[in-house]
């Protein structure tokens, strides 16, 4: 009886402490890689809305580890075949209309990816957030943790601060907030439509909200998600980018 009571009261306490000291970094990595895992293949619908237009895109993507990622537009027709390949720190775009591959130069990494509110930098650097930032538990309640990430000294980062709001059970992100160097909130990403797919519980919809332009947003909806698919490094090639098998 005594032991049972002890367990009831102290185990969660113990768990929290361990988390704070050891596992925050691990937690963030899990969250940041929720859509890629070791390897993945997905189909995504992306809706981008700005004050001037609204667009709807369908895409297909593949990833392998942290460093390899390929996405190709399936619709609309005008942009069918436009594709992006990321290998380590390099990003290339393929433009079928002119049949050219373009490398994104470092100076343009902050530019919008496919006209959305996601930047090329997001593609390259998001996978390294757990390595480039130091984390601290800001608050905790029954359902969630709030974790703050501050850049390590000299780390090549774009954000001055990132605040994660994570649901405990099952472990899924709810809201991630991005602050610039002056600690001003710049962007929010909301995660919704939590489902279990291929044995994992993840939010299938991701909404990017630029704070300065309240009427604008990018919504990514995962229509299909397969993990641990059979992909080789060689798949992520410029040849594959062009859609020639």
């Amino acid at each position: 009886m005594k032991i049972f009571l002890f367990c009831c009261f102290s185990l969660p306490l113990l768990a929290t402490q361990v988390l704070a000291e050891l596992n925050l970094r691990e937690l963030i990595r899990t969250v940041e890689q929720q859509y890629s895992g070791d390897s993945s293949q997905t189909r995504i619908e992306m809706t981008v809305k700005t004050g001037h237009w609204e667009r709807h895109l369908e895409m297909e993507s593949w990833s392998l580890g942290r460093e390899r990622f390929l996405v190709r537009i399936l619709a609309p027709k005008k942009e069918k075949g436009v594709a992006t390949l990321k290998v380590e720190k390099e990003v290339w775009n393929y433009l079928p209309k002119v049949d050219r591959v373009i490398r994104i130069p470092p100076s343009m990494m902050g530019g919008a990816w496919m006209g959305s509110h996601i930047t090329n930098d997001d593609l390259v650097k998001a996978n390294h957030i757990d390595q480039d930032y130091d984390f601290r538990l800001l608050s905790e309640d029954q359902q969630s943790w709030t974790i703050e990430g501050l850049p390590k000294p000299n780390a090549p980062v774009i954000w001055g601060k990132i605040v994660y709001q994570l649901q405990k059970q099952p472990l899924v992100p709810q809201l991630v907030e991005y602050f610039d160097e002056e600690m001003i909130l710049v962007r929010q990403i909301r995660f919704t439509d939590v489902q279990t797919v291929d044995g994992r519980t993840i939010p299938l919809q991701m909404t990017v909200l630029p704070v300065e332009k309240p009427e604008e947003k990018t919504v990514m909806h995962y229509r299909q998600l397969d993990f641990d698919v059979d992909l080789q490094k060689e798949f992520f090639s410029l040849r594959q980018l062009k859609g020639r098998r």
Partner: protein, 407 residues
């Protein structure tokens, strides 16, 4: 006869007079030249900002010039263009559409600013066609040509005839991308233009951006760039709707301050130089008066009044001023003309300096402006008057008895 006496007195000590005269001639000539070169730099700066890119004034919608928002576009009306053609002050205007995006050639790519233009119009407003280092300018009717800056060409490894890909986001959100053929490469010496600017056909860019018939600005070149502000103010009430006429001073406020401060710094330079010259002249004038103390004594003894003595000495200094003014202006204008038409190229030792939105080119190149001659000329006369007045007064106050006794 006072005149004669004064003139002959000037020639009395030829060597000293020649030295004094040459000091005055050279200082005023060099000053005219220096101000001319100063004006040349200023004009280069203004030209680099306006005649290579902005135009003297720009008509655009709302606050397009503040943030270059792609959607702040407009379509030109027949009435507006007819009005621009009617204005006698306007030397030319150019309809433009602008886009920022990624320009790429094979494995190289970089950010670029594309200016969609009608070649015939653009060459009336900007002078990039005079800065071509390879190939040719855009031809009217060219559907997908590009004239690119030399720095950009070097970074991309592009040469005339190569094809480039431009990617940007179109106005409908789609990924606008298309091929361009390099027709020409320009080099202005202005880093900002050489490293990012590309001229492309207006129609090509309108199609790429899905902005048919739309414009971002109409750049205007006028007769006298220094009157751009008043001209823009006059044009403004005649513009319809959202359209705004901005002069270069509004687009480049620092440049406007530089131009405004030029007048002040010109006065400061003139003053400093002439204080130095003036002290030299004063010294020689004093010497020539002191040497003639006895003569002044005699003149006064035989009945010359102090006022006449003063006038005579002033006549001497003023006629020296007039002579050196004449020679100095001629020499200064000749030097300035040489520097205006030949100039000195310093690009081997200096690189261009960009300041207040304009670029000072590494060359000595003068511009002849009336004020650059007038200021030194008037100041020289003023200096001669001041430098002459003290010794003249001194001579007039001499006591004849004392003066005659002087050996």
């Amino acid at each position: 006869m006072l005149w004669q006496l004064a003139l002959r007195n000037i020639w009395r000590n030829r060597r000293r007079t020649l030295l004094t005269l040459s000091a005055m001639v050279i200082s005023s000539a060099l000053l005219i030249l220096a101000l001319g070169i100063f004006s040349g730099m200023l004009k280069d700066m203004l030209a680099s900002a306006t005649e290579q890119y902005f135009g003297h004034l720009v008509i655009s919608a709302g606050d397009y010039q503040d943030d270059r928002d792609m959607f702040a576009n407009f379509s030109s009306s027949q009435a507006l263009e007819e009005q621009l053609q009617r204005e006698p002050q306007i030397r030319g205007y150019s309809k433009r559409l602008r886009s920022f995006g990624l320009l790429s050639q094979q494995r190289n790519s970089g950010p670029a600013e594309l200016l969609g233009v009608l070649p015939d119009q653009e060459r009336q407003v900007t002078n990039l066609h005079q800065h071509l280092v390879a190939g040719s300018y855009l031809q009217p009717g060219d559907s997908a040509g590009a004239v690119i800056g030399s720095g950009l060409a070097r970074r991309l490894g592009a040469e005339v005839g190569d094809s480039l890909v431009f990617v940007t986001q179109a106005a409908d959100g789609s990924i606008g991308n298309d091929l361009l053929a390099v027709r020409g490469i320009f080099s202005t010496g202005v880093h900002r233009h050489d490293n990012s600017l590309v001229l492309v056909p207006l129609g090509w860019l309108q199609q790429l951006l899905v902005l048919p018939e739309r414009l971002h600005e109409i750049a205007v070149k006028i007769e006298d760039p220094l009157r751009a502000a008043s001209f823009a103010a006059r044009l403004q009430p005649q513009l319809e709707g959202q359209l705004q006429a901005l002069d270069w001073g509004q687009m480049l406020p620092e440049m406007r301050e530089v131009v405004a401060s030029y007048d002040v710094s010109r006065m400061i330079i003139v003053t400093i130089l002439y204080i130095a010259t003036g002290l030299g002249i004063l010294n020689t004038f004093f010497m020539s008066v002191m040497e003639r103390t006895r003569e002044f004594g005699v003149l006064m003894a035989i009945g010359m009044r102090p006022g006449q003595v003063r006038r005579m000495v002033l006549l001497e200094t003023l006629s020296m001023g007039a002579i050196s003014l004449f020679a100095g202006v001629i020499l200064g204008v000749l030097l300035s003309l040489y520097m205006a038409y030949v100039g000195i190229d310093l690009s081997g030792t200096l690189s261009p300096i960009t300041y207040a939105g304009g670029t000072i080119l590494p060359r000595l190149h003068a511009v002849l402006e009336p004020a650059n001659i007038l200021y030194p000329a008037l100041s020289l006369l003023l200096v001669c008057l001041l430098a002459g007045f003290l010794p003249a007064n001194r001579a007039a106050r001499m006591q004849p008895v004392v003066a005659i006794r002087e050996e």
